[in-house]
């Protein structure tokens, strides 16, 4: 969610003025100090929404920093997304419900404190506790005792989760409320990282300059403008930073960041705006990356509105899905930085991870005649007009929403069958979505928290799940998800999740649109730039020439 379209021109003018001053000093490399192994990379950034507490950061920008400053039990391979042990020596279970976690010896925080079992258990208890009001608290919901420390209503009846027990310095056990064979694979999410004692002892000081156990340490942080990270030379892991540090600079508009990159004032932009894609070749040549990321865009519907929760409306939704010419929109509007979706997950999961190309089949393939037939059979669009709400401030959604509407209008032979409904700001838009104010469709998107098929299904479509904004509910789907979670064999669990996903084809609670790619451009000062499956740059691998 970046790019404030409204103030684009003004922002450009300011940026040009600032850049001019910066260049006036004669140092045109964007704040970097020399090259080689100690060279500093300057990169675009957005202001994090929340303070940088790991369990309170659920958006990309803050997550970027946590990924540099922290290491958890598990780390997702930057290339394949595969979950690999990092600090964990082993995570074992015989029944998919009781887990024993053993830590590797020799890990410390950058302030010298040892990383122990308590560093994890205390951090998780902090993140789950109701009084700490952490946004990611629900990630701990599978651990036994979560209901006592974070009840849905009323006050907490316990301080710590009973399911977590420290055995010794390097061992702890976790008991879950249900069988969940893939649980260890979720532990790479930033909410599960260990925290040093300083986090609790002097919370404010920690917030202004977070201390972690990752390859970088934070040198300085100016809220709203920049953060300077430097390599931690004594980092014990094997993914030591290959550059001297990273200077993150806040941009409110990715067009401005792109302009700064082409002007040589910035080394890395990790979100190239769609409107600049036609110039990328000329501006950057091969210094442009476009790789699949774990993000899917969808159209969601209000099932709390009676007229959308009928069997007729189900047909209409299927018809609408077939009325959208996905390849045309991804090719033209998005210049191939999106891939037409044919299931509800993401290609980054891989075939073994549960991604199945074409799972949705003909229901997600453009078919003009069939689409119109289904919509007419279903009694037409509820309310007579489909209004797709979107936020008008960031992310340039207008173009594709209009294109989707045009596609539907062409099918229906009616210029006003579908219209876009701009909502001023992202905050307002999210408020309307989460308080069930919208009565027609809205744009929705999901960026995975961890590369598991479970993460693409359960939080979004399970009855009353935290991100099930449309309040869709299907007993059969819920049962299959429960069954999949209880499955001790990973491959079986994934096929069961896929069975659950097949229900979405007929019910169509949301219409899958396209998989989003991550895009980045970089300057000729740096090399070895790559994006991980979360579309975040792999900073520690970047080398400076």
């Amino acid at each position: 969610m970046r790019g404030a379209t409204k103030v684009r021109w003004a922002a450009c003018a300011v940026a040009v003025a600032l850049a001019a001053t910066a260049c006036g000093g004669g140092d045109g490399d964007g704040g970097g100090s020399g090259g080689g192994a100690d060279g500093i990379v300057s990169s675009s950034w957005g202001d994090p929404q929340n303070p940088l507490e790991p369990a309170n950061t659920n958006e990309v920008q803050g997550g970027k920093v946590l990924d540099m400053v922290f290491r958890g039990l598990i780390r997702y391979d930057p290339k394949t997304g595969e979950a690999k042990n990092m600090i964990a020596e082993s995570i074992d279970s015989t029944d998919s419900q009781n887990f024993t976690i053993k830590l590797k010896d020799g890990w410390t925080f950058s302030n010298g404190e040892k990383v122990t079992a308590n560093s994890f258990v205390d951090a998780w208890n902090y993140g789950a506790a109701l009084k700490n009001n952490q946004k990611n608290a629900y990630f701990f919901q599978y651990i036994e005792g979560y209901d006592e420390v974070h009840p849905e209503s009323g006050s907490a009846s316990a301080e710590t989760m009973s399911g977590l027990k420290v055995v010794d310095d390097l061992t702890f056990t976790a008991k879950l409320t249900q069988k969940f064979s893939l649980w260890p694979d979720t532990l790479g999410y930033s909410a599960f990282v260990p925290l040093p004692k300083a986090f609790y002892d002097d919370h404010d000081a920690w917030l202004s300059k977070p201390v972690g156990n990752g390859p970088y340490t934070i040198e300085s942080y100016a809220k709203g403008s920049s953060m300077n990270l430097r390599r931690w030379d004594d980092y014990p892991g094997d993914d030591k930073a290959k550059n001297g540090g990273v200077d993150l600079k806040v941009f409110t508009d990715n067009n401005t960041a792109y302009t700064d990159l082409t002007a040589g004032n910035l080394d890395l932009v990790d979100d190239v705006p769609a409107s600049q894609l036609r110039n990328v070749e000329a501006d950057l040549g091969d210094r442009y990356i476009n790789t699949p990321a774990g993000i899917i865009q969808t159209l969601a519907f209000p099932f709390y509105e009676e007229e959308w929760d009928t069997d007729d409306a189900r047909k209409v939704r299927q018809g609408l899905s077939m009325a959208i010419n996905r390849p045309q929109i991804t090719d033209q509007i998005f210049q191939k930085t999106r891939t037409p979706a044919s299931d509800w997950t993401s290609p980054v999961l891989g075939e073994e991870g549960g991604f199945k190309e074409g799972l949705c089949g003909k229901e997600c393939t453009y078919n003009k005649d069939e689409a119109k037939k289904l919509i007419d059979e279903g009694g037409g669009i509820p309310g007579g007009q489909l209004k797709i709400s979107y936020n008008a401030d960031t992310g340039s959604h207008k173009e594709w929403v209009d294109a989707v509407c045009n596609s539907i209008n062409n099918v229906m032979g009616n210029n006003k069958a579908c219209v876009g409904g701009p909502v001023g700001t992202f905050a307002d838009f999210r408020a309307q979505v989460s308080t069930q104010k919208l009565t027609s469709a809205w744009r929705a998107g999901w960026q995975m928290d961890y590369p598991l098929i479970q993460n693409f299904l359960q939080p979004l479509y399970y009855t009353n799940a935290p991100s099930n904004d449309g309040k869709w509910s299907n007993q059969q789907f819920d049962d299959l998800v429960d069954k999949a979670n209880a499955e001790s064999d990973k491959a079986k669990a994934i096929t069961t999740f896929q069975d659950a996903e097949k229900i979405l084809v007929t019910e169509m609670p949301v219409i899958p649109l396209w998989y989003q790619n991550g895009s980045a451009g970089y300057s000729d000062r740096v090399d070895n730039v790559a994006l991980n499956p979360f579309s975040v740059p792999v900073y520690e691998e970047i080398t400076v020439k």
Binding site: N279, Q332, D402, N406, S407, V419
Partner: protein, 318 residues
Amino acid sequence: MPDTTALTKSTDASAAAAQTPSTTDTGPLPGKPRSLWSDAWHDLRRNPLFLVSMVLILLLTVMAIFPGLFTSASPRDANLAEHYLQKPNWGHFFAPDWLGYDVQGRSIYARLIYGARASIMVGVIVTIAVTVTGLVIGMLAGYFGGWIDTILSRITDVFFGVPFIVGAMVILTTFEERSVWVVILSLSFLGWTSIARVARGSVITIKQADYVVAAKALGASTTRIMARHILPNAIAPVIVVATIALGGYIAAEATLSFLGIGLAEPTVSWGIDVSAAKDQLRNVPTVLIIPSVMVSITVLSFLMFGDAVRNALDPKMR
């Protein structure tokens, strides 16, 4: 020549210059007595500025009422596959592909023609609404004076203090459906203040004129005095201010639509098109330039028109 026509003429002239009262009067040509209006028309007909702007305004008005005369293409027909950002084909005059296609694959020429309706509608209706509102308030305040004047003038001041565009933005954001009428309402709600001030000033000057005093002495009713003597003589400066403001309202509509809080799809508006095209400046500049030029031409022709009318009605400018 102390005939009545000349007397009216003389007072009319000072009324026209009510903002800065002046008695300079070049007078009509000897022989044939003429009113302020026929005099103004005499001037306007010979003013190239007026003729050019009049032609443009007529053209735009026809475009707004009968867009089908100019193009057979629909402004909402989108063909992404074939026409995404297609460059202009300058040789194909008035064909759908003449000026190229926008990001949605819609004919820019068709959108240019159909966009006139929203702009002209907003401009003309807002102008009429603010003129009527402003005239009524200004005349009441000016004619009756006293506490009525105090109250109405302070209300005018309050509205005058609200920044025009910001105020319109605030009003518009409270509406969920933003049609042309909502934009018209928000602009009219804030735009009448300058008209009211001009009308009030003009009425205050005229109400002391001999013929008004005479009418009063003869026992004419207030309504009759207002309608027969005050209004016809006070309206000239109001018309000048209103015609010049018209261009401003069109620009305001485009501005609000550009910011995404004025008109919304599927209404066709140049402001929306400029906004949608702004990221394409480096790729296909014509997508941005064509609707922008259209806004400029329209605003300019109404400003030129207003300017010409002012020159004709204000003897000081002769």
